[in-house]
Symmetry: D2
């Protein structure tokens, strides 16, 4: 993003938890300017500060203090180069389609199109090469500029970053057992009732295990020879246990995995690979790219959500406790900031990469 170009952006679902995070992150962004805000009919017509129940720990940014909220109709977003969508999945399907059709590119945090044909599912520090399908997507959906790019589920996002590093270095992964301890902010607002989570853990999150077992296979796969489809991993199996814990932000994941390559790499080799890993968003000099795509912490008791979630402004994955496993080859613990890299931060960095690749030109 050395181009110095400036982009007007819209935010769909601007009053929700993810929408608020988009606005917070964009408040000081050098090249993306918040231009239009969309929410439900109930909020439409109100100034943003009266429409939102603001829950960020920094005040409502000045740039949106005076803005009026509109319904999520493309006609209100005409001057936008693209939009970010933090919409709930029950409404995202129809609305995002409308923006795509109206030739306004959509960077969506919703799950609706993650597995759709020719729609890339992109973790910005993992598989930005999947942007290659955009021309075919435009052809398929008959748009000139419109397209949809999705980012992944928050837990999936954290998992795929070290997996990508290991797969690049040691070839296809065999089996991956993952158990999550997920923050309450992942459920939105009001989301998790305090009576359900104070002095408690809930060992279930609806639909989450399924996403974690399937999304990485697409993300870590490759673009097919037709330039429009995705070759999902066929040699890799994932099994997940998902839990909700009384933590505000930051999903922690205990990972055990085995490689097809034998002898398997040692913990030391794994650590070396994690520490050296870099991604395209860094190479492109994107503003929101983390200094390190993976932070390896050698302490015996890290990563910890409260202490490590803000590493690299929440855009990295912190990995610790890399060690041998009695059953798999290695095991480790990772942490991802679920509402930054795991949600809004992915969308923004994806858009920066898209800009750098000229997809809005």
């Amino acid at each position: 993003m050395s181009s110095g170009k400036s982009y007007n952006v819209g935010i769909l679902g601007a009053t929700g938890t993810v929408g608020q995070r988009f606005i917070s992150l964009l408040a000081t962004h050098p090249e993306f300017k918040v231009h239009a805000l969309g929410a439900s009919a109930r909020s439409a017509g109100k100034p943003y500060p009266s429409a939102v129940k603001w829950k960020m720990s920094s005040p409502i940014p000045k740039c949106v203090q005076e803005m009026t909220v509109h319904v999520c109709d493309p006609k209100y977003f005409e001057g936008c180069h693209f939009v970010f969508s933090g919409l709930d999945s029950d409404v995202a399907g129809e609305i995002e389609k409308a923006f795509q059709d109206a030739d306004i590119p959509v960077f969506s945090n919703a799950k609706n199109y993650r597995m759709a044909p020719a729609v890339p599912l992109i973790v910005p520090t993992v598989n930005t090469s999947h942007f290659d399908v955009i021309p075919q997507q435009r052809a398929l959906y008959n748009t000139k500029k419109g397209f949809i790019v999705t980012n992944a589920n928050c837990s999936t996002t954290g998992l795929t970053v070290p997996l990508k590093a290991l797969q690049d270095a040691f070839g296809p992964l065999d089996k991956i057992a993952v158990q999550t301890m997920q923050a309450i902010s992942g459920a939105g607002y009001p989301g998790v009732s305090s009576l359900d989570i104070l002095d408690n853990v809930v060992p279930f999150i609806s639909g989450e295990e399924d996403k974690l077992e399937t999304e990485p296979l697409k993300i870590l796969g490759s673009v097919g020879s037709d330039g429009a489809s995705f070759q999902e991993l066929s040699q890799t199996t994932i099994s997940a246990h998902c839990n909700r814990v009384p933590v505000l932000d930051g999903h922690l994941e205990c990972v055990s995995l085995s490689f097809h390559q034998k002898p398997a790499p040692t913990p030391e080799q794994v650590i070396e690979v994690l520490e050296k890993y870099t991604c395209e968003a860094q190479a492109l000099g994107c503003y929101s790219a983390p200094e390190k795509a993976i932070v390896y912490d050698p302490s015996s008791d890290r990563p910890q959500p409260r202490l490590d979630r803000d590493n690299c402004k929440g855009q990295t994955v912190t990995v610790g406790r890399v060690r041998k496993c009695n059953i798999f080859d290695i095991k480790f613990t990772l942490l991802v900031h679920n509402t930054i890299l795991g949600a809004a931060g992915s969308g923004i960095l994806n858009a920066e990469v898209a800009a750098a690749k000229g997809l809005f030109d």
Copy 2:
């Protein structure tokens, strides 16, 4: 324990967290009467209420209100039929040996002798058959009545109960991956600093993963043909991730496992076996034996620490979410009350079984 006999019991480490739980549980016990209290020199000579920083949610029981604390020397415990030890491991070794030598049986919650020759490591709803080694232990250590029986680590205890049921029904287990979310009470008092655990998870508990990977192999094994040693499981491998979460009581464990028997049992068959499981402590009619050794909860989001830890007065293991696994054969979630069945409650129920077996006669 239909005998109607009455036993005088001593408590070593009476001012600590585990000691306090022993006292709470024994306050209304029909056959065990608290007779002597032992703690460090700092507490010795004081009335119990001034020596202890009481942290249970029920008041200090009347039975110990007037008792004086002594140092942990057998001479102060002469009228005791046996003692419970909630001592820290840094002092438990020497003291428990002294009581054994003084012919006062010890039921210990400390780790020191868990792996010692001829010392059984007993989960009272799993392997009370291991009491069979007591005659050989007495011979080995040259005591008349003295012996040491240990209970297991709190996480181990929770894990072994369903494993025992499955092993009995389907033969040797192959691989077991377990990930724990453990309550702060497991670390004693003051234990975990609030600054370390509020809005946080600590993905490490010193020594815990090792215990969880080794203790079950002894507990689920059998007494050797010499009547003094233990045949540890040789066909079973365990791998553990241990985490501390902001929960007061109740360790939650996500378990994935495979059987040697193929085809492996289905989730339905596993559930049936868990629901039918009973143990010797129940058959003997022990006072503290749970109504059900395993409570199976069919809800999609259970067990949960706050809601389920007090099932069967904390002496059961609650299991839920039994389902197929992509990598192992099945996976499920279990909950154990770490300071009841996982600590003091195990000691008490073990002593009840010992009484029923005539080991104090």
Copy 3:
């Protein structure tokens, strides 16, 4: 309640938080038998276990396992001697009136009729003398057996118990400043969002300060000479700050107060009065009456919600830190279990007193 009589009771709002607490407390009640359950149309026709999202830490009692939920129409409650109402205030008004008219006495936890003419607002360990208005209430509302008795707001309840003791001993109180730290269970389920209360305090609870400043004036007042009205305290002023804190159960209140009597009583005199206080519910031998209506704890750092809320099965008020105040005469801290004495427990004990007074005959 030495009568040995047995009463059939109905529960309105049986699926809510207060309703669940009523059912838990009644499960082992010797004289009150749950006979009918009422809830909204959405739950009607379902077996109770499928209608409720059960959040108590003990399982659903057997006595209601097989019961069917009805809408809150008196025709479904014909065999009931009286009903407990845990209804929300938006529906309680009309429904409770219908039961009163149908000659089924109502013990209500809702605020709707707390200040209504001839309706007593009773804290069962404070002002059971206010039952004296029932004959006049029946005359006023033209019923034979029907009446409405309300219990107070949870914070009010905790405050009035020591105030009553002090007023009885030292004459009218002058000024009372109270600041509360209230548990999340007071807001019902789902109630407080976890995002609002984890690592946080909310210094506002809608309508709460007003209740705390007015309800005690009625409760601590007397029945007027007409036998139908209430003489509210005229010499006493209350000022409240109400806060929500991340605690599950138990409202803590910091109280500073001054007396009209000068010289004011000393802290020692206040403590003596608190310790000696007894109430009519105890004298009548009511089953749910606490052993002590006020527990005074001399420790420097008590009462604490987690450690003291279950004192006397949650039916007492625990007071600590009684000391001189620089501005008022004395100050102290009190704790009340907000869903037991502060809600369902009050209703039940009120009904026991009513039974002992022959109000259902």
Copy 4:
């Protein structure tokens, strides 16, 4: 601090909670450069990263990564223009005296010299005029450059800022009742045991109520005519209840107060005064001075610790819920970041003011 001068600073107690906060805040400071680190003998000789158990949520700053920790002896701090002390009160007395004697000015967070003759107790947004005593302090203690300046207790700090604004506008305050809900970070590390505070409130903090009732009288008073002593407020009385709540950072205080001036100002007048309040540190252009010394929030349910503690980088006091009181004249709720303005942030801003006033020249 438009001078552009640069100062070398030392940190005493560098490994403690307050010391860590000093280092974090100074990492990006334009004019203060961390030059030497002091801690106990146990840490001396170690590189800072090995000596400290770092608990801040941002990593250890680069500027101290390579520094070695020394004991707190002035000889190791020779190049320092002054030092910040985050020492515990049990050692602060002797050490701070030694630095004063060695002509190294000390900005202390410890309580030891807060009430000492000629030692100012300064809240940097309140009473920087008290720096006027420094010449007399030097004379009294016979130093050339050395002096001690203390900052106040964290709760005191929060309280005095709005009190100062009101006193300036409406004359002497009469009575102030304050009740605090204080964060766990105020107790240092390990500090509060998690078993004491999870699902709990502790209604007692040793020594805290006394500080809150006395320190403001000195801070809000004036320098005596001798230029060396302090005229404490004589017309103002404070009464405090102090509580510890499960919040990480941010002390919340419920305040009720009356004025001598009658008629008392209205809530609207109070709000106007709070909003207009500015302080000398702002006028001097100090780097760490908050944009606003008091942030008034008109929302019905603010301030809240998690959402508002970082207002103005933690150097402001946020006030909300200003309203009439039944007993006093007005009441409101305030929030102060206890480890920034309430501790290290005060020390730093005090030093900036001292620099601007030429006290290091």
